[in-house]
Amino acid sequence: MEDKGTFWLPPQASTTAHEIDALFNFILWASVVVMAGVTFYMVYYAWKYRRRSHADRPVEVHPSKWLELSWVIIPSLLVLVVFFWGFQTFVSAGIAPDNSYEIRVVGKKWLWEFEYPNGSTSVGDLYVPVGEPVQLVMTSTDVLHSFYIPSFRVKHDAVPNRYTTVWFEVKEAGEYQVFCTEYCGTSHSEMYAKVIAVDRGTFNEWLQTGGGGDDLPLPRLGEQLYTQQACNACHSIDGSAKVGPSWLGTWGEVRPFADGGSAVMDANYTVESIVAPQAHIVQGYENAAMPAYPNLTERQLAGIVAYIREINGDWSDEDAAAAAASDSTAAPADSAAVPAADPAAEPVPAE
């Protein structure tokens, strides 16, 4: 990207950004002028009329009606200009064109989920076509979130039980940072997402494959999903506890549940924890309400398991070979590494 942004503002990546920046800059420079004036007179008067002796008797100043009126009227006019300008940008930048491409957005603690018109979904990565207006229809499943893309100058809260919208048209292909700007709890500051703007052809291709990754080996696919599905917001891979348990040092361990049972963390339990996280909660994480991921494919689940095994040093070349073989010969559901995620496949309670 050529545009590096200015001292004050990030790069303008959407078609409406320049309108908002123009007003920002107008107010900025008007403020600089006012500020310079106030500061100048403040310092000048403080110096010029400084008290030389405590017996100083200043000259009486008669109030001037016109002077006082001038600083009622001039600021009033100035702020009205700013108001109309802000109003105009708000309207022009706030109403989506009729032909907007509509994507549904769901905010939940602490990830963004995107659903495209053809039913494809993604988490954490919002793919959009460049040069077309895109409208996001947003809601939330738990608390308030706010969808903010600094480079596009757009922001709106995602409110439970309501639909709110933002729209934008990306000028250039690239990746753009998304923040959550409404405080939503522990991992609020890591509720990131990325807008990935690609040309229409690539976008259509992506829509068909639903995110790709078919050609990746399982652990790499898992690694990709770890950030794509925003697992990293709550689970560390370095052993430190975040909102959820770390993925390092837990594989193969006996995990005590909050309700008294326990299970060994194996492929079964891991998959259950992904598709039905509330079924068995590990002690100490009772309040970390992890959202369910029922839409992941078997291969994606296998990838996450493989990735967890890999970072725990439990992923050997033989496993890789077996996985590769099953990938090429059988449907992913038959993958030896991952039994089907069946709610009936309860982990064995201790004793």
Binding site: W8, I20, M35, V38, A93, S189
Partner: protein
């Protein structure tokens, strides 16, 4: 040689007769001490009891001052902790949950326990009745009651903080506050209870201002500090019940599962924001209006000039108080309120910018052809002017809807309201403290360290918060525990700035403590001010403020009345010479004099300045 017993030597001049209870050492801070045979706890008990049950507005003001300063210190330390954690991305010494509790603690304590009561309850309680020429507020016992209600609210808040804390941010937005398992219920109760203290103080002030002005003190002669407190009191009475009701509804929702705000129960989370800001935006003016009042006093006294546009400043306070009720929606431009309401709220928001602008320009104009004395209070007042103007102008920025969409909930907002609240209210309060301190405690603070502290705090403040404007407009969201690397440098600068700011404030604290023990005794009118608390009573004042009700013959900033030594008139004020005193010396600050104040008839009559060599 002679050992003849003589009568005790009179140390006081025999010509000077004092009314009983008005002996030179008699002032509101001291209790008559017990005899030397009383030892141990019994020695201090009468003092404790006298202070705990006092209905003297001055003592209540001092107790408030001590209490809110304590909360300011605690919440300020929390702020330093927040900044320290933000120095680097990732977790330095706090976890995300601890960080969320810490910034909430900072916000809740600063807003509800410090800044809302700060100036009105401490400086206001102390100075308002004296500036009015009254013996006390209209309802002294109610005044004490409101202090204890405030203490009760504060205790509940501390209970909430020490039993798990609260992590919702000071705004308690639903549905997060419905679902978090932290101590939301006790905290809402605390806000509910502390609100009553605010309401009762407001009622007390309004009645006092209406009914207890000294003869001659017309509305056009009211000091601007009084006008500001009057406007604030109106807002306190009208707005505070709304936050009480809101907190009650929130508690009912959590306790009884009645769906009001929680969408899971069929409620509307945006409704909470309407309720909350219906109080909290006027509350912003509860926080800043008293500061306007203090600054008006300081600009007048230290420029020795009539405050320019007195009436405009007085009425703009009232205008701000009224308009302040109709702008709450500008906190909700991106929250899902209708675009039409956003537009209406935006236009009213701009209108409220005008009276604030008028005040700033009038204050600057006050210095014109004055005699500007750059004493510590004036330095703080000038710092206020600079910082508040930045805060106000950035308010225009975030009031423009299109721009606000980009800036909402970023560090730009954090910087904006810190410029108004901290750079505005806190700097004004410190200025006011330096100004009224001699009157409150009868001791002068160190002028040198006062000036150094003003410079250090000003520098540290800008370093801390100006960087946050840039952070915010570059997109850094607020209430973030960690952040992307691109924001690292500015966060680092901001954190280092916070240390300078902390150092500056520490100097102020040190100066206050030092002055109590080592400060030079204050003369009655060290600044040469013309309002009643300086011209008609001693430092510190008598229990009942004045020996006789003062007769007010001139405006609050008519400094020439203090100077008129041309010998014309008989000095009674009855001939239109407005209380001019023949041969009256200029009010020269003279820290060499002072000590226990002597009262003279002419002081009572308002004909002389207390405590000068000629008294």
């Amino acid at each position: 040689m002679s050992t003849v017993a003589t009568a005790p030597v009179r140390t006081e001049p025999a010509t000077r007769a004092y009314p009983p209870g008005h002996e030179p050492v008699h002032h509101y801070l001291l209790e008559p001490g017990p005899g030397p045979d009383v030892r141990g706890f019994a020695r201090v008990w009468p003092t404790i009891k006298a202070w705990a049950t006092t209905v003297d507005h001055k003592r209540i003001g001092v107790m408030y001052l001590f209490t809110v300063s304590l909360f300011f210190a605690v919440a300020g330390i929390a702020a330093l902790g927040v900044r320290a954690e933000l120095m680097n991305p990732g977790s330095d010494f706090l976890t995300a949950d601890q960080y969320n509790r810490l910034f909430t603690f900072h916000g809740v304590v600063m807003v509800f326990l410090f800044i809302v009561p700060s100036i009105p309850a401490s400086l206001g309680n102390f100075a308002l009745p004296i500036q009015l020429g009254a013996k006390d507020v209209a309802f002294p016992k109610l005044n004490l009651a409101s202090y204890y209600i405030f203490l009760a609210g504060a205790s509940i808040a501390l209970y909430a903080i020490f039993t798990g804390g609260i992590d919702t941010g000071w705004t308690f937005y639903t549905p997060y506050s419905d679902t978090t398992n932290t101590a939301v219920l006790p905290m809402t109760l605390a806000v509910f209870v502390a609100g009553f203290a605010s309401i009762l103080t407001g009622i007390n002030f309004i009645v006092t201002i209406h009914k207890m002005r000294a003869p001659g003190l017309t509305w056009n002669r009211l000091p601007l500090f009084i006008w500001a407190l009057y406007a604030v009191s109106i807002v306190q009475i009208l707005a505070t019940p709304v936050i009480g009701i809101t907190m009650l509804l929130l508690a009912m929702e959590r306790f009884l599962n009645i769906g009001i705000f929680d969408p899971a129960l069929g409620g509307d989370p945006v409704l909470f924001q309407h309720f909350f800001w219906f109080y909290s935006h006027p509350a912003v003016y509860i926080m800043i209006l008293p500061a306007f009042g203090v600054i008006s006093e300081l600009m007048g006294v230290f420029s020795r000039q009539k405050v320019f546009g007195y009436r405009a400043i007085a009425l703009s306070s009232v205008a701000i108080a009224m308009l302040g009720f109709f702008v709450w929606g500008h906190h909700m431009f991106v929250s899902g309120q209708s675009p039409l309401s956003s537009i209406v709220f935006s236009v009213i928001t701009f209108l409220i910018g005008v009276p604030s602008g008028i005040k700033v320009l009038n204050w600057v104009a006050t210095m014109y052809k004055g005699s500007v004395w750059l004493a510590t209070p004036m330095l703080y007042a000038l710092a206020f002017l600079f910082l508040f103007t930045i805060g106000g102008l950035t308010g225009i920025m975030v009031g423009a809807i299109g721009v606000d969409i980009h800036l909402h909930d970023t560090y730009f907002i954090v910087a904006h309201f810190h410029y108004v609240m901290m750079g505005g209210t806190v700097f004004a309060m410190i200025g006011g403290l330096f100004y009224w301190w001699p009157k409150m405690f009868g001791k002068m603070m160190s002028e040198r360290w006062g000036r150094i502290s003003a410079v250090v705090a000003f520098f540290g403040f800008n370093m801390t918060f100006f960087t946050q404007f840039v952070l915010g407009s570059q997109g850094m969201p607020r209430r973030y525990f960690t952040y992307l690397d691109q924001y690292h440098d500015l966060h680092m600068v901001s954190t280092v700035g916070s240390w300078f700011l902390g150092l500056g404030l520490l100097m102020v604290l040190g100066n206050m403590i030092w002055s109590l023990f080592r400060g030079k005794p204050a003369p009655g009118n060290p600044w040469g001010a013309a309002t009643l608390e300086w011209t008609h009573t001693t430092s510190p004042p008598d229990h009942h403020n004045f020996h006789r009700t003062p007769l007010v013959t001139h405006g609050p900033y008519d400094y020439d009345a203090l100077f008129a030594g041309d010998g014309s008139g008989d000095g009674t004020g009855g001939d239109g010479s407005a209380g001019r005193v023949p041969g009256m010396p200029a009010p020269v600050p003279n820290p060499e004099q002072g000590g226990p104040q002597e009262m003279h008839k002419s002081v009572d009559l308002g004909l002389a300045q207390p405590k000068s060599k000629h008294d």
